[in-house]
């Protein structure tokens, strides 16, 4: 009897980039549904624009760089980038904003560095921060959840607003928009209104964060936990980001509850959940050693809090992720684990 001995490796994992990216997208679906339930068609339209632009730019760059087009175009990584970017763009933002952000993310932040696996900065956050700095006004017009607004945006109305800048008669964008909970607390604190007063005077606050926002947070949390269970991401970064954000917020909250929002509010507001589970965990731009990941996550949590509370921007996740991205190689350098059998150098 002849026994064939194939070359090693004899056992290999079945994870591919495409499978990973599909799982990430799958984990985002509940949050996308929740988002659309509370804030309308905007996210889906933005996501479609972003995905189409990102795929187009990816195709163009792969052609220019003479790399295999089909192989990279179908791995799903640009789709994840585009969907994450769409989450950060206000629902009724004009279409060119999304196009610009997605193009910057794919062309500059990803392909100039060599494409998938080489980008030192998270492409979605690079695109978002460019938009936030270049078009601060367009990027800060958010809608109130439908429960609180008298106007229910239908699909054609949303399309009109996004592509033509035309709003239902009698409404302007400024009249439709409402400050996000983070934004509101910040502006009210600057005119000496305490947090408790702000919360009782405005209807947009829910149990922890804002109405609607906290539900999106819940679904993102569940999606993230599923990703950890499926071993697409490791627990280190989300735990470190949320843990440090919670701890720092708790310290200041206990010190002065009138001027510092509760830790639960911080964790459930803005992009904290999305950032912790889906953005900071980007395997390329994050730190890679276990110890490094914890340092990286803690850095994001603390920087987010600092920028939110004392900085000039309402949410700090985007900047915090970019700042820790640029620190990640240094963190990796100094947290290299000891090689088994060798002494620590």
């Amino acid at each position: 009897m002849k026994l064939n001995t194939p070359a090693s490796p004899h056992v290999h994992g079945d994870t591919t980039v495409r499978k990973m990216m599909l799982r990430v997208l799958l984990a985002l679906i509940p949050a996308i549904i929740a988002y659309s339930w509370f804030f309308g068609w905007g996210l889906l339209i933005n996501a479609t624009i972003a995905v189409v632009t990102a795929l187009g730019c990816e195709y163009l760059m792969l052609k220019l760089r003479e790399r295999p087009v089909n192989f990279f175009l179908t791995d799903g990584s640009v789709v994840v980038t585009a969907v994450l970017l769409a989450f950060c763009i206000p629902p009724l933002a004009p279409w060119w904003l999304t196009v610009l952000g997605a193009a910057f993310a794919v062309i500059v932040a990803k392909h100039l560095y060599g494409g998938l696996g080489y980008n030192p900065f998270n492409p979605a956050m690079a695109g978002y921060v460019v938009l936030l700095i270049s078009f601060p006004r367009d990027m800060s017009i958010w809608l109130p959840p439908f429960i609180l607004s008298e106007l229910d945006f239908s699909l054609p109305a949303t399309l009109n607003a996004v592509f033509l800048g035309v709003f239902p008669t009698g409404y302007t964008l400024d009249a439709l928009s409402a400050a996000t909970p983070l934004d509101l607390i910040k502006t009210q604190l600057s005119i000496d209104v305490t947090i408790a007063e702000t919360k009782s005077a405005h209807a947009i606050f829910g149990d922890f964060g804002g109405i609607g926002w906290e539900w999106i947070g819940n679904w993102i949390f569940l999606g993230g936990v599923w990703l950890i269970y499926k071993k697409v991401i490791s627990w280190h970064i989300p735990a470190a980001v949320l843990g440090s954000l919670f701890t720092v917020a708790l310290i200041f909250y206990l010190k002065d509850a009138d001027h510092y929002a509760s830790p639960m509010f911080h964790v459930f507001s803005g992009a904290a959940m999305l950032g912790a589970f889906f953005i900071a965990t980007d395997p390329v731009s994050a730190a890679t050693t276990p110890m490094g990941r914890i340092v990286y996550g803690i850095g994001i949590g603390i920087l987010t809090y600092v920028i939110r509370v004392w900085g000039g921007y309402p949410d700090g996740i985007g900047f915090a992720v970019l700042l820790m991205n640029l620190a990640a190689p240094t963190i990796d350098y100094y947290t290299q684990p000891r090689v088994y059998g060798h002494k620590r150098s």
């Binding site: 494409g115 985007g318 640029l326």
Partner: protein, 191 residues
């Protein structure tokens, strides 16, 4: 105490000399190819910047102003900086010949690092006291060191990447510096 902390915070992060005020870009680009060299350069610059910032304050307050020759300020400061750099060079040469060889031309070039002269002149512009000047210089150099080391580690990683031919080397380094600067804009409005 709080005032010194704010100066430190402002110079290290909010008004970082390299990424926000764009001073000292030559060593930022020139010595950031390797992490170890960058760390050495960071140390040398920290020493020079802090010392020269204090010295230039003393020279300004006790020589230039009493003699009423403040119009000689720029050239005097350059002289002061050159002396401090020479001192550092002799010191590094004695204590760490390897670092001396690795830093090479960049060590005397700290003299022409515009951040060093910039800090000395900004100290006068902002009417800083002696202690404030010292902290300001120290903060500026810590900020410089921080971004230089982070940048060097990033460049080591980027060099291993599949960067398009046209963007290899300084081009992608400048793009990276731009993106870093973008990230540092998140600190704006912090003070």
């Amino acid at each position: 105490m709080k005032e010194y902390f704010l100066i430190l915070l402002s110079t290290v992060l909010v008004n970082n000399f390299v990424l926000v005020q764009f001073l000292g870009l030559c060593p930022f680009m020139g010595v950031s190819r390797k992490l170890e060299t960058a760390a050495g350069m960071a140390l040398a610059t920290t020493f020079v910047l802090t010392l020269s910032s204090a010295c230039s304050y003393l020279v300004n307050a006790y020589i230039l102003e009493p003699l009423d020759i403040v119009y000689l300020r720029t050239i005097t400061f350059i002289l002061v900086i050159a002396v401090v750099v020479q001192l550092t060079e002799m010191f590094v040469h004695k204590t760490s010949p390897i670092l001396y060889r690795v830093l090479g031309i960049f060590l005397p070039l700290i003299t022409t690092n515009c951040a060093v002269l910039g800090v000395a002149l900004l100290n006068i512009r902002h009417d800083h006291s002696f202690m404030q000047s010292l902290i300001y210089g120290f903060g500026a150099s810590v900020g410089f060191s921080l971004v230089l080391i982070l940048f060097a580690a990033m460049r080591e990683r980027i060099m291993a990447g599949d960067v398009p031919e046209t963007f290899k080397g300084p081009a992608i380094a400048l793009v990276t510096a731009g993106l870093m600067s973008l990230a540092f804009m998140g600190f704006s409005g912090l003070d």
